[in-house]
Amino acid sequence: MGAVVWPHDLVSLYRTRYDDMVRLAFLLTGSSAEAEEIVQEAFVKIRNRIDRVDNPSAYLRTTVVNGCRNRYRRILVERRHAEPAERASYDRVDELNDALTALAIRQRTVIVLRFYAQMSEAEIAQVLGCRPGTVKSLCHRGLCELRRVIQP
């Protein structure tokens, strides 16, 4: 019935990377619903280009990261006007989430890509379109902000 023909690579990419990308986007946005929307939108965006890229997985990740950065300003505004959520408990991970939310989006992105996605500074620089030195600086400042939370 469906007239849309999907590249085989894209279907494989969905099977292997969709969940990872949603988790990455969740760390970058702090919102599970937004994360899913951004990742789904990323798949739609890359569907016609996937045959022409060397590393579809990296291309998808860059698209997701850019999607999160584009939406982050709106998410912050919405969060500012939202009622604070009732929490049954508040642990170190919640603290980390709040601390990440308080970071500037570029710092947050660098921290997540470096320490969750295990990317090198050079790879992060490529995704963000900046120099590796800038990544190093953003990472340093971000970690200083987080130090309070991640003290053992």
Binding site: V4, F26, E36, L96, L143
Partner: protein, 482 residues
């Protein structure tokens, strides 16, 4: 930052990330998004092309041909110009002021001279002819055909029609006569005046339906005395070497009639309703829609419905959209179900609470469905009519039903254009079209589009939403004509 702290950060980020719960239907959501994006793109391209055509017509043509301010298209009088830049699903026909009107699909409205009092326009499969009844409410209605440009206006049959249906593959009409109980017969007539008897005048045909290949007709005769003869559901071959051959698919019980529904698009089966005591009042409260193969083996029930063909719409893959629910009022207890006729499995299309869903129409590519959503009401008053709105959903995502932004209130009988991008519909006062993705509706005609029933068997009184003058759009594609 120490190595120990970094390791702690990594583990805490991993723990935080695990709180995200990716949904299991992500792929379906991606497909739906892709489809919406494609539709928006197609609409944008179509709008740009329309704009380019308008610019070329208004600006470029007069400069190239300073002595000729027309568009080069010869339009015979009398016609009325449609709104500039109007997009429509294609040609349409309707009745206004007792006269048949034809819209060309690209610019002109034309009344058909000598058509009054007209009712029930229907297009031939190829869009080359329109049939209509003249004097439908008189003792002697006449069946006429006319070409969309107004030529060839000819009477092809007269009598008291029980049913009229164009062949899905040829320029010919099957029409049953019901002058009195037990007689009338069924004939095939053509615009050039030929007539072929299918069922003799000595028998009464209760209802009938053309096969998708146009080679045979499914029909059911009224058997008298009704309490002793079981009505058969027959297939009569009308063309080819086997013309005249009759095959009985199944029989109703004593004193039970059969209302014949449409064939499966594959031609391998058909739909029907058992009609206890041939009673139209029983029919009006809803009958069980059945489905059978041509072999008559293992018929299955689909849903309780009114006997109303506009409330059945086929998808190209053989699935069927049904307006289900009992009760004569279209405003009460009516919902859409997607059924598989071979198995009888039906799935309800989710819609908001306290609403009814009516008038389904599947897009030519079989991917979308346009329908009317209205508030639930005990009776179909004019106030209820104003709540009727145009909605759409994807056939592979029933939960995604949503309103078409911008469509007018009081929508009735939506119909897709061949491009799959535009939906035409009638309101109480207009014939309109709108991009399926939403936008500003184009008023094709401001003439009153819905002005009353045909009076044939008091259909409106029995709850069927048929009107003598709703806009009928030319066939979008071959499979829909069946």
């Amino acid at each position: 930052m120490s190595e120990r702290n970094e390791t702690s950060l990594e583990s805490q980020l991993a723990e935080l990330a695990s709180r995200a719960q990716p949904s299991a239907d992500g792929w379906q959501a991606i497909l739906a998004r892709a489809r919406r994006q494609d539709r928006r793109r197609r609409s944008a391209v179509a709008a740009a092309l329309s704009f380019a055509v308008v610019v070329a017509t208004i600006v470029v043509w007069p400069r190239l041909h300073p002595g000729n301010h027309g568009t080069g298209v010869s339009v015979a009088s009398p016609t009325v110009a449609a709104p500039p830049g109007a997009r429509s699903p294609g040609p349409a026909a309707w009745v206004s002021g007792n006269q048949l009107w034809v819209y060309s699909g690209s610019g002109a409205l034309r009344p058909v001279t000598g058509s009054s009092p007209a009712a029930d326009p229907e297009w031939s499969y190829d869009g080359q002819w329109i049939s209509y009844l003249r004097g439908a409410n008189t003792a002697h209605p006449e069946l006429w055909v006319v070409r969309p440009d107004g030529s060839g206006n000819t009477e092809v049959w007269n009598g008291k029609p029980g049913g009229i249906e164009w062949s899905p593959t040829a320029e010919e009409l099957a029409v049953s006569d019901t002058p009195a109980v037990g007689i009338g017969g069924l004939a095939i007539v053509t615009p050039n005046g030929t007539r072929q008897t299918v069922v003799p005048y000595s028998s009464e045909v209760n209802s009938f339906a053309w096969a998708p290949d146009g080679q045979s007709i499914a029909l059911s005769e009224v058997m008298a005395p009704a309490d002793t003869f079981a009505s058969p559901l027959d297939i009569v071959t009308v063309h080819g070497p086997d013309a005249g051959r009759t095959t009985t698919v199944l029989r109703a019980g004593p004193d039970v009639g059969i209302a014949v529904g449409p064939w499966w698009p594959s031609g391998k089966g058909l739909l029907y309703w058992f009609e206890p005591q041939y009673s139209r009042s029983v029919e009006a409260s809803g009958l069980t829609l059945m489905s059978t193969t041509l072999a008559g083996t293992a018929p299955v029930t689909l849903a309780t419905t009114l006997v109303s063909l506009p409330w059945l719409s086929w998808a190209p893959n053989g699935q069927l959209l049904v307006v289900s629910g009992s009760g004569a009022q279209p405003s009460d207890n009516k919902s859409l179900e997607l059924c598989t006729p071979a198995t009888g499995a039906c799935t309800k299309v989710p819609t908001p609470a306290d609403t009814v869903s009516l008038d389904p129409s599947v897009s030519p590519d079989g991917q979308q469905v346009a329908f009317v959503l209205a508030s639930q009401s005990a009776s179909a008053t004019s106030a209820w009519f104003a709540t009727r709105r145009l909605w759409v959903f994807d056939l592979d995502n029933l939960a995604d039903a949503h309103a078409v932004a911008g469509a007018s209130a009081g929508t009735a009988l939506p119909s897709w254009g061949a491009d799959g991008l535009t939906i035409g519909y009638s309101t109480a006062t207009d014939v309109e079209s709108i991009p399926a993705a939403g936008g500003k509706p184009t008023v094709v005609s401001g003439a009153a589009a819905l002005t009353g029933s045909t009076g044939l068997d008091g259909e409106t009184a029995l709850g069927k939403t048929t009107w003598a003058s709703h806009a009928v759009w030319a066939p979008a594609s071959g499979w829909m004509a069946g």
